[in-house]
Symmetry: C2
Subunit: 592 residues, 2 copies
């Protein structure tokens, strides 16, 4: 019983073996993480269009919800930039139509994401995430990061700006650029420059000062907290909030009330598709971080447990006034570097943030929003990856096209159209590619049992025999193409009496392709050509045996192409020739 | 110049070689076809919800338009049942919203189909049709035929009925069943029984009477014309049109005016998606018939010419008061059996129908609609194919599921949702299948150079070496799956030092899969396991050479798996064993 429960709630398993030393490590990590994640929690709440405390709330219960189901020992869950942006865009879109207030919309969105993720986990639909290709994710993340940076420029300079695409953001910034606040811009740009320099040099500096690398690395990560403290103090001392510097202001002290957001059906309807996409992005982003951790620690990651964990985290966020959450890269790195051993570190850190929320929110009153904007901008610069575009393009035009399309649509049409179009395009490109499979007319490499493309190798051929290798599973989208190839080859070789289909690359044959093979068999028979198959894979053969195709086959099924060659050339008068140019058109997808 | 023109307008080519004997054959075929296709032309116009003359108009100009571009010598184009039904459903749906009158809607739909088909032909998008699988087409045609039959029951019995799905049709028939017209039902059911008997026995009877098979077959096809004449004469003589028998009534004499239908943008918007689907169905249905003809006659069919031909036909239908048209099966069979040699037969037949339209429409005044309903029902009975469902299900559950879903949705949700869901489902099932590829841990068949699945064959294995064969192209949707397989295998075999990936079934590796391979390589290296590749196909290797993957590869690329075996076992201490049960879990997709 306990065994079964612990597969669903992993803590039941690992808490049994929990040692005092592990507890010490987790507690230390939690303390460090609590301090380090507060600035970004506040910042991402603002990015999501919510009051800053929502970011703190989203770092408390969700971390505990995730820990209940998680299979990753160190993934840290909380507000992240990408999801905050998607949430802001989605809710902003429907809010413009006057359907709902922003806070409610964000909570309902988190609730839907939580439900979708949890249900996907229970239904074991973790594989769904595989349908988003790496180039699409890469283009989407780069595009979103650029949008996020642009969206913070207004806050950084103290001017009003808005929009969710590059054109709308640029035009709104350009429109008010002349009216920027000098004090705000000084704080914002100052913070930005400091953070960029700190990221580049602080660790090296600390190491040069004699600190061990581990401690130096953790201390270097304190830069955002340092900026928060310094700019808040300066703002308070110099009364800059009276001089046009927007500050966070009073945060409500105390823990959030637990309550379900007000749900109505029309709202759910408009949010459902975005929620599905955001859920996929939450899952893909979180598991790609978690996979990295698991690989480094030699752990096993269970995609469906992760889905349930992320689902629980988002449900927890929805009932506690937070926002949609995901596994965060920088949070997780902090967690690991601080020495976290188990998910208890995340739970302890949640308790720490809860304490801050209860006792210390007053500290953030004078925190300039421009500081948070600078923190966001620096955090997302690492996400922009133009080299991936170049590398991917060089490797494969199709993948490059998918990446570029996703990137451009994310920038110019918005995050939701961007990822939607990317997923659709990459699936279509894959289908298109498999619909025009690579085929090769092969011949025997003299003196061997090997058969290779006659356009790449000097091979023996028998004029009465055509041997075609198809390098793709046969299914409805390429059945007609095969049909055309065979027709064309037989038309070009009127002397052929035997057509051999070499099936090494054919992993399945679906019903449409089977019908096509039957049609090819019938047509070849009436043209006086026998159809043979060679090297049919076990599972394919099992399936063919259930049909009448093998009985109607005009030729034979040979175990190996060499068997076919030996048997058939014995029947014909063997003639050896090298590459015959007449069949060059027979390889429509080019010479490979 | 003429050469180039004749590739676009094939008649320029074949008219040069046109002989007097061919002319005689085409003329004879045209006369027979003219008489035989009139009943169905009238009937399908009624099925499409249009006045009967639209069916005649749609058999004149469209046939000529098609002949201009067609690559098929004998495909006959005109109104067909399936497209008439789809047109009626689509226009009925938007007409219910009060957007437009029925006739205009039908013409705009034909215009859109014509434009879509023609543009697809020019853009060489003929391959698009391949994405509709045979099971989906089969389920769609069976479902549509059943809907067509049900839709004619009301007309057959002389009761009002309507609807475009089984539930709506059945309830509307049940609602008025008590008020059926005795005279109408007598004519309708009488015609139905006669036509069914004629189809079954007339040819045999005529042959038994001493007629040659060819003539008997053509005469047997006169049964619908005979029913038309007899029921019209009986109705006229007995003044049954006064006794509640609905007749065609006065048809306007003369040729249709040529004019573009009134187009407005909102109408085009609502019709665009249905028009796209109907265009695909027109194309798929027509080319499947044309492929059959081409195979029998040893001709080459050019999918893009066919698209242009069908596009021209539908544009011609739109400007001449017709309805959306396609290549018809029974029309084409009549054409071939009557001895048509070229598309001129279709053109002559169009002239014949034009003459009928000008001079003889009065003959159809007393033709009962119930007779046409009987003709439609008998014509579509051959389209219902439940055996395909059984056969497909037995061969492949996935294909069977696609067929059944399409069939049921066509019956219960309508033709457009049916085909849409079918296409989407079959693509998703294909993607799902390829996302969980078949993999096999292989070993050496003792004494040979062959490597086979260790669960199917008794093989030699080396405990320090895992050889995995992946039977699928590697792409984003299955990259993670491969990753998990490899991790699991290495976890189960802690003594392994070499992991061999046998690439016989890998036809391409996309950017996502490449990244995953790089991650696998890195992870295996840190676990002290070298990754080797064997039997990498030429095009895949070309592409890998453009990356840093091969330089970073911890192991080697071997030409054959046997090379790898020989080299690696030399390094290890060779141990021979039979199937080791510990690795049974390693083949998650079952033992093949």
């Amino acid at each position: 019983m306990r065994e079964r429960l612990s597969t669903i709630l992993p803590p039941i398993g690992w808490l049994r073996d929990y040692h005092r030393t592990t507890l010490a490590q987790d507690l230390l990590a939690a303390c460090i993480m609590t301090v380090l994640v507060i600035p970004q929690s506040l910042a991402y709440a603002l990015l999501a269009g919510l009051p800053a405390q929502a970011g703190l709330y989203a770092s408390i219960l969700p971390a505990i919800g995730y820990a209940l189901f998680a299979s990753s020992s160190a993934l840290a869950v909380g507000p992240v930039a990408l999801i905050a942006l998607m949430s802001a865009t989605t809710v902003g879109g429907i809010q413009a139509a006057g359907v709902v207030d922003f806070a409610t919309g964000s909570l309902v969105l988190a609730l839907l994401c939580g439900m979708i993720l949890f249900i996907m986990g229970v239904a074991r639909l973790g594989f769904m995430a595989n349908f988003i290709s790496h180039p699409v994710i890469s283009g989407f993340i780069s595009g979103s990061a650029l949008i996020i940076m642009l969206s913070q420029v207004g806050t950084l300079l103290g001017i009003p700006s808005g929009g969710s695409t590059v054109p709308s953001l640029v035009s709104s910034i350009a429109h008010s650029l002349g009216r920027f606040s000098e004090a705000t811009a000084a704080i914002g740009i100052g913070s930005l420059v400091f953070l960029l320099l700190a990221r580049r040099y602080s660790q090296r500096l600390l190491v040069a000062m004699g600190l061990p690398v581990g401690i130096a690395s953790t201390l270097a990560r304190l830069a955002p907290m340092l900026v928060v403290v310094v700019t808040a103090v300066v703002t308070a001392r110099s009364h800059l909030d009276g001089a046009g510097v927007a500050v966070i202001g009073d945060l409500p002290a105390g823990l959030p009330d637990l309550s379900l957001p007000a749900i109505d059906l029309p709202l759910v309807e408009v949010l459902l598709v975005p929620a599905l996409l955001i859920s996929l992005v939450i899952f893909v982003e979180s598991t790609s971080i978690a996979h990295g951790i698991a690989a480094r620690r030699g752990e096993r990651l269970d995609a469906n447990q992760e889905l349930m964990g992320l689902g629980a985290a988002n449900l927890a966020a929805a009932v506690s006034g937070g926002l949609a959450v995901a596994g965060g890269f920088s949070r997780s790195v902090v967690n690991i570097e601080a020495g976290a051993r188990t998910q208890l570190a995340g739970v302890f850190s949640a308790v720490g943030i809860a304490l801050v929320t209860v006792f210390f929110t007053g500290l953030f009153h004078y925190l300039p929003k421009a500081t948070l904007a600078a923190i966001i901008i620096v955090a997302v610069t690492t996400l922009v990856d133009f080299r991936a575009l170049a590398d991917t393009w060089r490797y494969s035009r199709q993948d490059g096209l998918a990446l570029l399309t996703t990137l451009l649509l994310t920038l110019f049409a918005g995050v939701i159209p961007g990822i939607l179009a990317g997923v659709a395009l990459s699936l279509m490109l894959y289908l298109y590619r498999t619909s025009r499979p690579h085929v090769a007319v092969v011949g025997r490499i003299p003196g061997t049992e090997h058969f290779r493309n006659h356009q790449r190798y000097t091979v023996e051929t028998d004029p009465q025999m055509v041997i075609l290798r198809v390098d793709e599973t046969l299914y409805f989208a390429n059945a007609r193409y095969l049909d055309d190839c065979v027709s064309e080859l037989v038309r070009q070789r009127p002397e052929a009496t035997d057509f051999v289909l070499m099936c090494t690359g054919i992993n399945t044959i679906d019903a449409s392709a089977l019908e096509t093979l039957e049609a090819i068999n019938t047509r070849l028979r009436s043209a006086g050509v026998r159809l043979h198959l060679t090297e049919v894979k076990g599972p394919v053969m099992d399936r063919l045996r259930r049909t009448r195709f093998l009985q109607n086959l005009s030729g034979e099924v040979f175990l190996s192409t060499f068997d076919a060659w030996r048997t058939l050339t014995d029947r014909h008068s063997l003639s050896t020739s090298t590459i015959d140019s007449s069949s060059e058109n027979a390889n429509p997808s080019g010479a490979h």
